[in-house]
């Protein structure tokens, strides 16, 4: 982090100190720390704007990660709910017609999504969960066209070998 570090003993005024800083906005967070071994006190200044931006970026990244994980949880929950109806159909508790009617609630129409957006999200899902979901599963997770997800997987395959294995030879 950029900082102007001063080590005591040094006597200066606040105005002198601020006039020497490289930040024109003159809005700072000050950190004062002492070292018992060297008997010295140091002071560091950080641009408030820089600190705030970095905290906001961190919060935004965490929010994005949480939203992605929530998506994965909802996707799996949807599959579990479907599974219970499917099991009822397998065990003849419901007829095929009743099954068709009951599962229609889960149907969605896949959207055409920019592979660049999908690539970033698919890569992050893998980093968070450490599960190499196959392209068809990822397409179901993000409710997009399978072709979009294949393009996205191709983009991230250099960073994640697990995805490289899912590409047709020659890609």
């Amino acid at each position: 982090m950029d900082a102007l570090a001063l080590t005591s003993p040094k006597t200066t005024s606040v105005d002198e100190l601020l006039s020497a800083t490289p930040y024109p906005e003159r809005d700072y967070i000050v950190r004062i720390s002492t070292n018992q071994e060297t008997k010295s006190t140091s002071m560091q200044l950080y641009s408030t704007g820089v600190v705030a931006a970095r905290l906001n970026n961190y919060a935004a990244a965490m929010t994005r990660d949480i939203n992605l994980l929530k998506s994965v949880i909802h996707w799996q929950h949807r599959r579990l709910d479907y599974g219970s109806i499917y099991n009822a159909y397998l065990m003849d508790q419901i007829t095929e017609e009743e099954f068709e009617t009951a599962v229609e609630q889960f149907a969605y129409e896949p959207q055409n999504v920019d592979p660049d957006v999908l690539a970033a999200d698919a890569s992050r899902v893998f980093e968070l969960t450490e599960i190499p979901y196959e392209p068809s599963d990822l397409a179901d997770l993000f409710q997009c066209e399978h072709a979009n997800m294949m393009e996205a997987v191709k983009m991230v395959s250099a960073a994640h070998q697990e995805y490289a294995k899912m590409l047709p030879s020659g890609d």
């Binding site: 479907y82 159909y89 095929e96 149907a107 179901d140």
Partner: protein, 141 residues
């Protein structure tokens, strides 16, 4: 014809599926067919074989799909869908020692290799923990 490379596809009026792990997934509305389809995933030695071909003139999901009677895809991960709910899963002997899950599809079906057999073998990855049948011990003499 048996196809096992990633991206190979088969399409037909009816198909027979065979695998060690079958997953039925919630339906979606296929954007090309404009119909509700019932997706599935086959894992661990998956096969999808055409048992009845489409009538002439039927529009395919993919122009490069194989459509002849008996054409099949084989892989460690196969995904696809049918236009009618999957038939009930049946567990039957696939080999002399191992059973497998069999599922019949009708009303139109599509299957696609996501992870081929060659790719899995090349990775020398343990696909499954096979429980070997105990050897019968016969003392000498």
């Amino acid at each position: 014809m048996r196809l096992s490379t990633i991206g190979s596809t088969v399409e037909g009026e009816k198909m027979e599926l065979q695998c060690r792990k079958f997953s039925s997934h919630p339906p979606r509305r296929d954007s090309k067919l404009k119909k509700l389809v019932y997706p599935f995933k086959l894992s661990i030695h998956g096969f999808a074989r055409i048992t009845e071909t489409y009538q002439d003139g039927k529009e395919l999901c993919r122009e490069t799909s194989h459509t002849a009677l008996g054409d099949e895809v084989h892989g460690e991960a196969i995904d696809g869908f049918s236009l009618k709910p999957h038939g009930k899963e049946r567990v039957e002997h696939a080999t002399g020692t191992h059973k497998a899950t069999f599922v019949s599809l009708r009303g139109g079906a599509y299957a696609h290799v996501e992870i081929g057999v060659r790719e899995q073998l090349a990775q020398k990855k343990v696909i499954e923990q096979e429980v070997l049948e105990p050897l019968e011990y016969k003392p000498a003499g």
